[in-house]
Symmetry: C2
Subunit: 148 residues, 2 copies
Amino acid sequence: MEPEQSAAILKQLKLKVTPRRQEIMNCLGREQSYLSADEVWERIKPRLGSIGLPTVYRILDELAEAGVITRIFLSDRKQNYFLCANQEGHHHHFVCESCRRVEDVEQCGLEGVSRDIARRSGGRVTSHILQINGICGSCCQGHAGAAP
Amino acid sequence: MEPEQSAAILKQLKLKVTPRRQEIMNCLGREQSYLSADEVWERIKPRLGSIGLPTVYRILDELAEAGVITRIFLSDRKQNYFLCANQEGHHHHFVCESCRRVEDVEQCGLEGVSRDIARRSGGRVTSHILQINGICGSCCQGHAGAAP
DNA sequence: CATATAAATGAAAGTTATTTTTATTTATAG
DNA sequence: CTATAAATAAAAATAACTTTCATTTATATG
């Protein structure tokens, strides 16, 4: 992720463009997989001299609330975050349980569900969580049958 | 949930049929909304005389892993659990952000996604998380516009 | 450019959900 | 009934995450 892009995203969110925020976005943007708050911290510390862990938590939470980064749900309770190169258009993610790589899943098909809920019960849909888990192509080939 | 049903479910999972496990399933089965481990603990303590909190955590985790109960994802990091009366057929849940009630969502439409991933990248889908959040019908009517 | 101000961050301490460990108890197969 | 493997209690530990408040910094405005 280019510095200009992260700056633009932050400005759009009415957040100040600070080195910490940009560095966190750059760090996640370099990865094709998700990272925990702790992992982000370890990676950006040398680049910034120093940064407090609460700052990392705060920024990750802000960006996730704003929808810039995606929370990845795993069986351990830790929160993990992924910054998708594709910042446009509603889509979801396929998460490889073996190598942690995240791929886009274009198909969503939840517009129909929202309509159904509204029609059936008079309710209103505000958000949804969709995450596909599995073994990615290269992991399937690399060690066929090694899936958990 | 009837005692016979919980016993049958536990036997099918090769888990011992213990009073603690049954009481936890009964407790969740009585609710139309999700509960945290702590809430389950408070509710079953008087019925069992005493039970340790780690036991509650262990049993909830077992049942969730087995797919008998569903983890509900909220913005606070706490784990919450829901036991669906409908134990047959693949489906998902609509969670009311206002009253915590959980309703079934029959439509899923993820079979196509699995096929797509397999075709496009050679990957394999093992599971998926889908949760619809919103305001349920009665909350919408009860206090129209009171949604967060 | 200078500066006022609201937002952002650091540092340290605190909170709490969740887990681990080990000894004891209990469900169940035979 | 009895053996045994699984389940539970109790207490302590862990670690993810938050809070607080003093200090610093980005940025709007003159």
